[in-house]
Subunit: 298 residues, 2 copies
């Protein structure tokens, strides 16, 4: 998992990622829903937005999100940059708009200087803002999980139970969707392959994008890296227990009933996917001034 | 500003300071209102609490708060530890209660281990929680401001305008209240010494604690260190411009009218009080599990 990125750009992106002034209220930042202290999500069924509006879907982790084939559960953003612009302007989330966000940043001389350093111009654009945020997010990988170290040949990293769990993970068919660098994130699949998922009928998934009937309830397969850090599970955040999540997946997606022993082993394996969390130096943000548009609670 | 503190305890306190699970919703942490990226406050007139309730008073900075004679604008908490317990259980703020907060922490094995390491016991108490948070907060000082360096003999740190501002700050009488290590924070004073402050009649200040008529509208004098980072100003957060704040203070507290030139000089001096911000490595919090009480939006 070697990665390369532009350090000045990522440093600017980190500031923006943590800056609540990108929200109308001055209260919510990217990190509110994608909290880097908590596995890159907010550990809630769905997020809380402007005026305490409750989001319709579980916030996916930003950790390793670069390995997703597209962003959002329905894949409506083609990459991290396109994703980053969404929540800022979503009236149920940060409830700002791109013009206001730019006006705020543009009013702060330190931001002007930093954008000029990275993009060669003091005039800040929304494309630069989302580009910088995406660049920071690209740094958010979690290498050196026990499973990775085991794959590289260090047999002591996994217990017998965990190895058996890995074996079951492949044998039972989980690996059909959860594979690749992110252990997921590279395909869309229907939630409810062998029996309909009926807990949530409101989230139409990929259908939102394609408007094809067969894409109803089709979602991007979530990444399984760091899965122990990101309860509750599924697009509706309805399940808090990883054992229950594994058991339900087997039932709905594979049409099999796992024994408790099998579930325990698979869960033990999944917990070996927790990697080294990014070490983040919390940014110091430049102060606003009398020219900065003021936050609004309404 | 040499300080000593218990490193393990402060490290645990940092985790708690950033942990939104201390709130009922799992959404708000100490850092929500006392954001260490933004001068230790939230840069809003007043904070947003559980269910988007709007707080009655401006959140003071946590930076250098150890130098306050007591905590909160009305001084109702004698120290940082006593303060830390307040917002957790305030129904308008984090809206949890101490029993629930403890139950959540106690359910997380990593927290148990860390509390045992610091306090010798896996049984977590609210006193330990607030003690650890206070220990972390004691580390949040901002040394080496240009003014400090100038005081230590480096004359090049201040411009002529800034020095003149410092002279005016003393000569006009600001220093009568804003003095000591924190440049404030060590006394209570009436807001409206020479003429009544009528923008906010709801905040009774020190009267809340003493119930003495003469303590109405008496507030703890705020610290002026890093003041350029913590707009808006006053207990009601009604003023965004530091120039306007200085001018109003002179008017209400000293009964004098500063010229624009004098105000500019004093503001220039105040900006030399911005110190080195604490370098915070963002914590990685241990995950909850099926035994952890779940967050609630209601």
């Amino acid at each position: 998992m070697e990665i390369s990125y532009n350090q000045n750009k990522a440093e600017l992106g980190k500031m923006l990622f943590f800056d609540p002034r990108l929200s109308k209220s001055g209260w919510l930042s990217c990190n509110s829903c994608h909290n880097l202290a908590m596995g890159g999500d907010d550990n809630r069924p769905s997020s809380i937005g402007h005026q305490w509006q409750i989001g319709p879907i579980n916030s996916p982790t930003v950790l390793n999100a670069r390995f997703n084939v597209a962003q959002f559960w329905d894949g409506r953003a083609k990459d991290l940059q396109e994703q980053a612009g969404g929540p800022i302007a979503n009236p149920k989330e940060m409830a700002s708009n791109h013009q206001l966000a730019i006006k705020i940043l543009q009013s702060i001389p330190d931001y002007q200087t930093k954008f000029e350093k990275v993009y060669g111009d003091k005039d800040i654009s929304i494309n630069e803002v989302t580009d910088a945020i995406a660049e920071f997010e690209k740094t958010l990988i979690t290498p050196a999980s026990r499973f990775d170290q085991w794959l590289l040949g260090d047999d002591s990293q996994l217990t017998l139970q965990e190895k058996e769990g890995y074996h079951l993970f492949k044998e039972k068919g989980c690996v059909a969707c959860h594979n690749g660098v992110g252990v997921g994130g590279n395909s869309y699949q229907k939630f409810g392959v062998v029996k309909p998922y009926d807990k949530d009928k409101n989230s139409l998934g990929r259908y939102n994008v394609t408007k094809k009937e067969e894409d109803k309830y089709v979602f991007k397969v979530p990444l399984l890296r760091n899965i122990e850090l990101t309860a509750p599970y599924f697009h509706d955040g309805s399940v808090w227990s990883l054992n229950e999540a594994v058991s339900l997946m087997a039932d709905y997606q594979l049409g099999i009933k796992l024994t408790d022993n099998e579930t325990n082993k698979i869960v033990a394996f999944l917990k070996t996917l927790t990697g080294k969390q990014p070490e983040i130096t919390y940014p110091v943000l430049p102060p606003e001034n009398i020219h900065t548009p003021r936050p609004s609670i309404n």
